[in-house]
Amino acid sequence: MAQFVATIRVRPKAEVRDPQGESVAGALRALGFEVADVRTGKEIVVRFSASDEGAARDAARTMGDQLLANPVIEDYEVSLGGPAGTPAR
């Protein structure tokens, strides 16, 4: 088994309102920036082991589908790093 690092970025779907993003946009405007809009999300970094890169990518997608994102309201993307020490792809 090799070590991998998956970075899963979860964000609200384009058609779902993001009140947190709207609030941040207002705060950035208060700082003087001409901000059109802001979308917030979260980044989840998972260190785990898998037999090879394909299995690691499959596992990361399964994590996203089953728990890390709610497909009703969120999209997510995975970038995979590793085996440990090699750059993210």
Binding site: P12, E15, V16, P19, Q20, L67, N70, V72, I73
Partner: protein, 233 residues
């Protein structure tokens, strides 16, 4: 009739439900989620709270409990299931109800009283209450129900909107909506009608001391279900 009141780590309203059912003379038992065997119960309640600290998303981790499989089986067999507040969020995360609950549009945690109109009598909890305006407390930061346009249209046309936030005159205005929920939706049911999720807390308005008694009308429905069953026998 014995009602299972599911307890997850972080649930905070299970004793309120137990108290409410005691007042109504309905047998009940608080059941730890991981041990939940619903076969010996006639109905189930998922109370409010912050299961697993609301980490990741409200209800996201609770849906992985063994209780979810039990709830899915019991729901398919027609068991009355009520989820309030975090219980509603768990039912949506577990796929037992459509849509999802996201952050209130104003970003505030709202602890208040709301009015809602009963728009579907096709649940064990609202039979005979059609058109009534109920007054109940809310306490949540993520009660804004959302769904894609197709799901919303289906839920509306199938009469699955059970309660909708309204003002004292019965109008579903933006001012009467405490969290920005789509179409002022406060609670929905599944297609069969035995599963109801809503953000307000019926268990917290069951005696005058608490400021209202409308919760009794909804929870007493479980006793009525039992009566109907006995009459059929």
């Amino acid at each position: 009739m014995t009602v299972a009141i599911l307890l997850y780590p972080g649930t905070w309203s299970e004793r309120d439900f137990a108290h409410a059912f005691s007042l109504l003379g309905i047998e009940h038992e608080i059941v730890w989620h991981a041990d939940a065997d619903l076969r010996r119960f006639d109905a189930a309640v998922i109370p409010g709270g912050f299961s697993y600290g609301d980490h990741l998303r409200a209800g996201a981790i609770a849906k992985l409990s063994p209780a979810t499989r039990e709830l899915q089986r019991a729901a398919a067999e027609g068991m009355p299931i009520l989820g309030s507040c975090n219980g509603f969020q768990i039912l949506c995360e577990a796929g037992l109800l459509p849509g999802a609950l996201v952050r209130n549009t104003h970003l505030e945690f709202r602890c208040d009283w709301v009015r809602m109109r009963v728009e579907s009598e096709d649940t064990p909890f609202t039979a005979g209450l059609g058109g009534e305006i109920l007054r109940m407390p809310i306490a949540h930061g993520e009660g804004n129900w959302v769904a894609d346009p197709e799901t919303l249209a289906r839920v509306e046309s199938a009469g699955q909107v059970v309660v909708r936030y309204v003002d004292e005159r019965g109008a579903a205005t933006p001012e009467a909506n405490p969290n920005g929920s789509t179409a002022n939706i406060a609670g929905i049911r599944n297609e069969a009608g035995n599963v109801l999720g809503l953000m307000p807390h019926p268990e917290r308005c069951v005696e005058d001391l608490l400021g209202g008694t409308d919760g009794r009308k909804m929870l007493a429905g479980l006793g009525a279900t039992e009566s109907a069953r006995l009459l059929r026998i």
